[in-house]
């Protein structure tokens, strides 16, 4: 069910590598204020999908609209409404937290940048690391900096690729709270990939199960497992992965 105007609309996305479809004609949307989980086994096509939405991978077929703007024809304007954080894309370790936030804030042409940097630093509890190079921060601290960068421009669409991977439970809980707070403001939607089933069940409003490049299942994470005859999302995940 589409609650409000979608911030992301993907239609019939397809990407083929060496004759094998990595993403095979998937369509989905993310609405403002909504957290949508994109889950599936390794190689299911999650990162390929995220890469296409980020504009760093061109789909072979299909279209992506971000905030109503066609990514293929209006790349800069569409991408200015997004931002992302991924465990495999840390910010340059040779710049300080503040320097990274300033550079990326400028890349996203963020208005009132100095004030936004101060707000993001306060929101993610980074004040004591403001002048610390990102490369010497712990995994959890680097994730907080990546999320501060990802929310700096108050994106309409926030893409998070396993944002809590490799974090300790306490830090992961803290990160989840901040992402939930972002979505609760209702100004942007979140597309979230994770392998942590209890996490997606507690965080996501809607779940897309991806396998072999296709969306096999979609629905409310709290009822999806039962509706498909499984005791938990983890059981459902295993069943989908082995299908």
């Amino acid at each position: 069910m589409q609650l409000s105007k979608p911030v992301l609309q993907a239609e019939n996305l397809r990407k083929v590598y060496a004759g094998r479809p990595a993403v095979d004609g998937i369509s989905f949307f993310v609405s403002s204020g909504e957290i949508v989980g994109l889950v599936g086994p390794n190689g299911a096509g999650k990162t390929t999908t995220i890469s296409m939405i980020l504009g760093v991978l061109a789909p072979d077929a299909g279209s992506i609209h971000i905030g109503g703007l066609d990514l293929a024809h209006n790349r800069a304007a569409a991408l200015s409404r997004t931002n992302f954080a991924a465990v495999y894309a840390p910010l340059p370790g040779n710049l300080t937290v503040q320097e990274n936030l300033r550079v990326f804030g400028m890349l996203y042409a963020t208005p009132n940048l100095s004030a936004r940097i101060d707000e993001a630093i306060a929101e993610f509890d980074l004040e004591r690391f403001r002048r610390t190079r990102c490369g010497v921060l712990s995994s959890g601290e680097q994730t907080r900096v990546s999320l501060a960068k990802a929310m700096l421009n108050e994106p309409a669409l926030l893409l998070l690729d396993e944002p809590t991977a490799s974090l300790d439970p306490s830090t992961a809980r803290d990160i989840r709270a901040r992402i939930r707070a972002f979505a609760a403001k209702g100004r942007g939607g979140v597309l979230w990939t994770s392998h942590n089933m209890p996490e997606v069940e507690s965080m996501c409003d809607r779940l897309l199960f991806l396998s072999q490049g296709r969306i096999l299942l979609e629905g409310d994470p709290k009822s999806l497992a039962a509706r498909n005859g499984h005791a938990s999302l983890e059981d459902l995940f295993v069943a989908v992965a082995n299908a």
Partner: protein, 267 residues
Amino acid sequence: MKLVRAQAVALRQFYLMKGSPVRILPLFAWVLLDILLWGFITKYLNSFAASGFSFVPGLVGAVLLWDFLTRAMHGLAVGFLEDVWSRNFLNIFASPLSISEYLCGLIATSVVTSCASLLAMLALAALAFGYSISILGLMAFPFVLVLFVFGVSLGIIASGLVLRLGPAGEWLVWPIPAVLAPFAGVFYPVSTLPAWMQPLSWALPPAWVFEGVRAIAAGKPVPLPDLAAATGLAAFWLLVACALFAWIFRVVVRTGLIARYSAETVN
């Protein structure tokens, strides 16, 4: 095109240099060593020359201008390589930054770094060997500009190669000036070269610049046709370089190389 995004690319390079003397040193160290080396060679050669003749304008001036071109190329390519070294492609190319904004930011960086190198070289060449670029008169500015434009064009082409071939392509970047130097006629007239090399030389803007420099140093009239050819060729190569980089970017986005440039290094 948003100027603020190009400024962000240049600001990142400024931040890197501000916090790292290791990045500042190469701007000056190698070019100054080159000036010293060629300055002493020139002094030695002068001892054999006819009275009143000096190799300084021809040799020290040529080395200085060629090193400036090299610095212009490296200034751009190193800015690009900083994104390779820090695995930053995904962050920057998933942003609204356009290729033209990215290249403008890198060119701005190269302006600052190559001009700093040039000023240091001019100071050393003047103090140690009595060389003054003012012997080129008003032609000094357009000649330097042509060499800068061709230098950044080479930097853009080299960056495109690394983007297409992956991080290992970096090893193709550094020798480019050395490969081109024999064709560019830095130290000798193009007519010295075998016939098969000469058409290649005349396709390179530096060949026209160095012919002009030698003409002025020999007291001949200012070679305006050489300047016109050099300027036209420099503009041509800049357009070719930008078009090539943009094409390579489209290829790597289509094939997924950018997405994997970062992600695969983690796995």
